[in-house]
């Protein structure tokens, strides 16, 4: 026993302490509890991992039974293998940094304790998610992080848009979870267990499905779940709106950790996915389509956080692409590096926003390079990392993905490369609009306090050197054997060039000749508007699903079905009874002669009926 349960327990304790007593604590105490609990969790995770190294096989700890019903047994069981180890380090490590950052960022907010309570709760669920040893426990974390996401998006609950965005996130995630739970049911029916070891062991014996079958069904349903959590087509719509939450939340939940849960889950279920090529192909295409679509939208947005949000969607698509082509370790590698640079991008953006007193529109920024130099410096690291400048962390993972994709399908590869260029373009665009040129805003920018920029610096280092330091595919070798051959220098050059082309193009358009973007967008006209308005997907969902559902429920089901029809029948029966009563009453005319007539009629009927019945039994005896 290594008491793995302590890893999620620390943040849970932090949540409880801050949640219950936080209102009476000073901000310092709240910060200490919150940061301390996550740091402890990080430390404990590190300790466990060091003790467990080299972790060739999973280490499982069982505590007690959670649900037992017939053959279905779900224990509280945590396990660590190398995949989990990586996720643990990312979650607790980046989590700690963001917690520290947030103590500075959120300093002036009301409900400071509430924020950190939620954030700790998130850490608890996220750690449960990665440590779980069965699907149901994973699902606990899965839904739990969704809840925290909901709570934190709606943190500014006075704003209608914030609470709406929270609802949207939760409900869209619910749709994904619906798929996930169906997948779980099928897994239990097929394998008789939800336990990872048992399921994967059993899955190994299953032949690879050529046509769609049970494995394909399970995997596609898991994909639905993953698409919800990791914001893939068609369920990505919640993530851009989720930027209503405070920026550290965007960094932690909606960039670094939670949204990669889908990637983690698919990688975790690799044993099943490899048996379902159709599903794998679907995963790849969904990922690719998401990457392209989100990247194009990212080029047109002006809200700095929205740009990064679409960038996240796009990068997640990249990861799914990797998973789909069977490069699970490359996908996870990208999860790690993306966590570094995207967290940094968001936190940096947060620093900018903080500096500009909650200004998020890039058209009101510019020239901040000199005003907030530290922020600029760290952001620049993230910038080159995401753009795939050689030897940065992003470059390593992206090249790994593209290499695998090329191996799988050249068509996908070229689309992927184009996307990489677009990615570099929009990130560079945001950097140029923010930090170069003239300052277009009115607020007085001020540099963030050290508590904010120190974590940024750490992340900056990781963004630059992360890929070099952590060779994820190598670590994951026991789990996901690397199939294809060594590096192809040509491919790496193409990939690197794509990034540089993107940066260059952005430089031309936003620094060298600033009038160019407008002329291009106006010349594109309808296409530009389509992309600018995010392909009108939200509007389409609203018109085809949400509004028909609500109005149909109101008029069709409730007012017509329930009140008019069903209740009408019920009350109608009452009315019918009264109507009969009214009819029966008229027999009682009050007239003696009519009563006498009834007596006579009754007598006659009695005699005839009795006679008829008697007659049928024979006459005289």
């Amino acid at each position: 026993m290594h008491h793995l349960w302590l890893i999620p327990f620390f943040p849970l304790a932090g949540f409880l302490v801050n949640g219950i007593f936080g209102r009476r604590f000073s901000k310092g105490l709240v910060s200490m509890v919150a940061v301390g609990s996550v740091a402890l969790s990080f430390a404990w995770a590190l300790k466990c991992l060091l003790a467990l190294a080299p972790l060739e096989t999973p280490h499982v700890e069982r505590y007690f039974m959670w649900i037992q019903s017939g053959s279905l047994a779900i224990p509280y069981e945590l396990s660590v293998d190398r995949l989990t180890a990586i996720m643990l380090m990312v979650v607790t490590g980046i989590g700690s940094l963001i917690h520290i950052y947030a103590t500075g960022y959120m300093h002036d907010e009301d409900g400071f304790y509430r924020f950190f309570a939620y954030l700790n709760l998130f850490m608890f669920f996220m750690l449960t998610l990665v440590l779980a040893n069965n699907y149901l426990l994973l699902f606990v974390g899965w839904e739990g992080v969704g809840l925290c996401s909901y709570l934190l998006i709606g943190y500014y609950f006075l704003k209608h848009s914030a609470s709406t965005a929270g609802n949207k996130a939760f409900i869209v995630n619910r749709i994904g979870d619906f798929g996930f739970s169906l997948a779980m049911f099928l897994i239990f029916i097929t394998f008789g267990s939800l336990d990872f070891q048992k399921v994967f062991e059993a899955a190994k014996a299953v032949p690879v499905e050529v046509s769609a079958g049970m494995m394909t069904a399970i995997c596609l349903l898991l994909l639905v779940g993953a698409a919800g959590k990791s914001a893939q087509i068609p369920l990505y719509v919640w993530l851009p709106d989720a930027m209503e939450g405070p920026t550290p939340v965007s960094a932690l939940i909606h960039a670094a950790t939670m949204v990669t849960a889908g990637v983690y889950m698919v990688a975790r279920s690799a044993a099943i996915f490899t048996k379902a090529p159709i599903a794998m192909e679907t995963v790849a295409w969904v990922g690719l389509a998401t990457a392209v679509m989100a990247a194009t939208i990212g080029m047109t947005q002006f809200d700095i956080k929205k740009v990064y949000a679409y960038s996240t969607v796009s990068q997640l698509g990249y990861m799914f692409l990797a998973l789909g082509v069977g490069a699970f370790s490359a996908g996870i590698w990208h999860v790690v590096t993306h966590a570094f640079f995207k967290a940094l991008l968001f936190l940096g953006a947060g620093s900018v926003i903080h500096a500009l007193h909650h200004e998020q529109d890039m058209r009101n920024m510019g020239g901040l390079r000199t005003k907030i130099p530290i922020t600029f410096a760290v952001l620049a690291c993230a910038w080159i990392a995401i753009s795939g400048v050689p030897f940065t962390s992003g470059w390593y993972s992206k090249e790994a993905i593209l290499g695998a994709v090329h191996h799988h399908s050249p068509l996908m590869y070229w689309i992927g490369v184009a996307t990489a260029a677009v990615t570099a373009f929009y990130v560079s665009r945001s950097m140029f609009m923010t930090f170069f040129g003239e300052y277009r805003g009115h607020a007085h920018p001020h540099e963030s306090p050290p508590v904010m920029w120190v974590p940024l610096a750490v992340l900056a280092v990781l963004s630059l050197a992360g890929g070099f330091l952590f060779n994820v595919p190598h670590i994951l070798e026991p789990l996901f054997p690397v199939e294809h051959g060594g590096h192809d220098i040509m491919l790496e050059i193409i990939g690197s060039a794509a990034g540089l082309v993107g940066i260059g193009l952005a430089y031309v358009m936003y620094v060298a000749s600033p009038g160019l973007p407008d002329s291009i967008s106006s010349s594109l006209g309808g296409v530009y508007r389509l992309v600018y308005n995010k392909y009108y997907v939200d509007e389409a969902y609203d018109a085809t699903v949400v509004r028909p559902l609500v109005s149909g429920s109101r008029t069709g089901l409730w007012q017509f079905g329930d009140v008019w029809l069903i209740d009408g029948v019920v009350n109608g029966m009452g009315g019918f009874a009264r109507w009969i009563g009214g009819g029966v009453r008229t027999l009682q005319s009050g007239s003696i002669r009519s009563y006498a007539a009834w007596v006579v009629a009754g007598a006659v009927i009695f005699i005839i009926a009795a006679g008829a019945i008697a007659g049928s039994n024979g006459g005289l005896r």
Binding site: S589, S591, R593, A596, V600
Partner: protein, 108 residues
């Protein structure tokens, strides 16, 4: 005491038919007459039809029981008449009418 022989020309059935006709007349009278008194008398007619039946059967069975029953019926009819007429009287006093059809304030 041997029963007095009846004229053979009149079979017992005739008495029964007569009583049935009387009974039916009573019923018809109850149903179709408009005055309370007549209606009441119709009931008496029905009871007398019954009496005739009893006597006839009594004769047929060579028993006295039926004759006895007739007296019971007559006594009861007398009591009924006393009460009935008294009730009719109070109705007339209160309403000033003896029409059956006007006594229908309690209804529905």
């Amino acid at each position: 005491m041997p029963p007095i022989p009846l004229p053979t020309a009149v079979p017992l059935t005739y008495y029964l038919i007569l009583s049935a006709i009387l009974f039916a007349l009573g019923v018809a009278g109850f149903l179709f007459r408009k005055s309370l008194i007549t209606v009441f008398m119709s009931i008496e007619l029905m009871l007398n039809a019954v009496n005739l039946t009893f006597v006839t059967f009594s004769y047929q069975h060579k028993q006295v029981d039926g004759h006895l029953f007739t007296f019971f019926v007559m006594v009861v009819a007398a009591a009924e008449a006393a009460v009935g007429l008294a009730i009719i009287l109070t109705v007339f006093k209160n309403r000033g009418t003896l029409a059956v059809d006007e006594i229908d304030s309690l209804k529905l």
